[in-house]
């Protein structure tokens, strides 16, 4: 499996891609027959996989402060990366957010969840934040989350809805 070293520390990163463009990009990236086939082809060739993963890393690091957890939550967090939260909360924000939306650990930065909520709401996607996010698999740091996403390995990262109608199942965490 191709891995790159884990990215930088968990520090809030302001997304450099507008919410509108990020949600447009989602239309292209979300799993379909074409990108599934492409992903499978890339996974078959180690060098292609390495290059693809490096490209993903370079672009997502710049745009979203990506740290390569390999289990991307961006599609349901307003394209604000939760791994930039110093507590790496996947179901944030914590209760320590300052009056103006400041991160409690890095007060000069805005809370990634406050930013994510604003961005999701601006695109009519605030309901995405009601989904319950399951714990991540720490063996997958450094992997390409796009390949994981297209191959369906990310299908259980979050619940389909707010989980209130019937108790959501945690699933098996190895």
């Amino acid at each position: 499996m191709t891995r790159l070293a884990a990215g930088p520390r968990s520090v809030p990163h302001r997304p450099r891609l507008s919410a509108r463009l990020a949600y447009l990009m989602q239309k292209v990236l979300k799993p379909n027959a074409a990108n599934r086939r492409f992903g499978a082809a890339v996974e078959r060739v180690p060098l292609a996989r390495t290059l693809f993963t490096a490209t993903e890393r370079a672009s997502k690091e710049r745009l979203f402060g990506c740290r390569m957890c390999g289990q991307c939550a961006l599609p349901v967090t307003g394209y604000s990366c939760p791994m930039g939260c110093p507590k790496e909360l996947r179901n944030g924000p914590c209760g320590g957010v300052g009056p103006g939306g400041a991160c409690e650990v890095y007060p000069e930065k805005r809370c990634v969840w406050v930013v994510g909520f604003e961005r999701a709401a601006s695109q009519g996607a605030a309901a995405d934040l009601r989904r319950l996010q399951r714990p991540i698999d720490h063996r997958r740091w450094g992997e390409s989350s796009w390949l994981n996403y297209w191959a369906g390995r990310d299908d259980d990262l979050w619940t389909d809805d707010d989980g209130l109608a019937s108790p959501p199942h945690m699933g098996e965490v190895e």
Binding site: G95, G96, V97
Partner: protein, 319 residues
Amino acid sequence: MSALRDRLAAGQFTITAELSPPRGASAAAMLGRAELLRGWVDAVNITDNQGSHVRLSSWAGAAAVRQSGIIEPIMQMTCRDRNRIALQSDLLGAGALGIENLLFMSGDHPKFGDHPGAKPVFDMDSTQLTWTARTLRDEGRLLSGKELNPAPRFFLGAVENPFAPPVEYRAQRAAKKIAAGAQFIQTQYVFDLDVFTRWVTDLGELGVLDRCSVLAGVGVIRSARMLDFLASGKVPGVQIPEPVIRRLRGVAADDVGAEGAKIAAELIAALRQIPGVAGVHLLTAGYERQTAGLLRMAGVDRSALMDESALVGKSSDGD
């Protein structure tokens, strides 16, 4: 048996308070402070290295309080210091020691404590930890899928800060914790009743108040120094509204404590009238000697409870 659960289920106005374990290898002083709350408070939160300062562990503190029979403990668990293996292991330990009331939170970042260079763990977040405890209890298995024999009995709690941005999302975030398994929620300090009432109303509209009890956080500003500290905006998650600051600045420095207690008593009385509020959670660690007086000032009659709590010490299971 969780008397806290029974009391909330019966719809009786419920009072919880915070008790910090000592920085030392004896629980004796903490039990002495618990004794001051006997009869006045239904359960005490045993904090988990609060503010990221090392203290006697919350499970040991909760076990000592439970064994003393003085009061029922609520064991706090943060996600800061343990991964999913240690968290599940400690949940089983709590179950074995008869500690049923649990309260989950993310936890303060190590940066704020006495070991700022410590590794922040945060393997899971508070929603996931609540979900984990429910999985252990209701499905009788670990997250790995391995069966538990026997499964623990738990009464699960979570926290929320209705006043932290994004305020319009805070009820939904609480609802996520309720979906994950939270049966009661304690809040951060309430000073702004309008924002708080809006939050509780939102919870009602989300249809979750029939399965989760809300305990509103109440703190006492005890001195001019504490007011300066809290109003500085440097305490994570605490915001003191301008009218409260003005009122406390309006009295002599020596009278701030008395005025702060008066404000807290008024808040307790007002919170009691808000539909959907099951009780109050006193964020008053270190204030145990004055707690009874505060509750009396708030018009809380505990004479009936005093009789009940005398029975708690005579539990039949030999501890």
